[in-house]
Symmetry: C2
Subunit: 80 residues, 2 copies
DNA sequence: CGTGCTATCTATAACTG
DNA sequence: TCAGTTATAGATAGCAC
């Protein structure tokens, strides 16, 4: 029912933080996947859970390393 | 009005692809930011536009390199 | 390239099993 | 922990500027 409006600040209770992390992390990865398919672009997402576990997404079955290599080698004029 | 239900496949027209990329990329970065604040976790997002331009997000004002270093050095038991 | 609108679709907080 | 439910808040497609 989405009772709490959800201010954008750290969730203090560890349990709630873990639950929210799990759900929102799935949503984030889903959005990344959709964007990569819809627009045919390379995307990489790296996320560490509150307990330090890694989750990752890399588009087009590319290895994460391949995308990070493209990131590292990108010329300046294509950066923000 | 969200007329097209939006199947999950590449948008064929370049212009539409660029517009959708721009909008959804903003949404993705926003979600990543929210997750990093709400759950106090490190997140990195790297995204290349249809024209090859880079957008990136890294949480907590950490340099992207710092997060990618954590990624590279993470022990296997914390990986998926 | 953006920004604003808005009807509709999607994600999700709180809850239950 | 972990999946499902449901009422809401949030995101966004198509359009106009």
């Amino acid at each position: 029912m989405n009772r709490g409006k959800g201010k954008l600040e750290k969730i203090e209770k560890l349990f709630g933080r873990q639950v929210t992390y799990s759900k929102r992390k799935n949503g984030l990865m889903k959005k990344a996947h959709q964007l990569s398919v819809l627009c045919d672009v390379q995307i990489a997402v790296v996320s560490f859970s509150p307990s330090g576990r890694l989750s990752q997404f890399s588009s087009h079955n590319k290895r994460m390393e391949e995308i990070l290599e493209r990131y590292a080698n990108l010329p300046d004029y294509l950066r923000d």
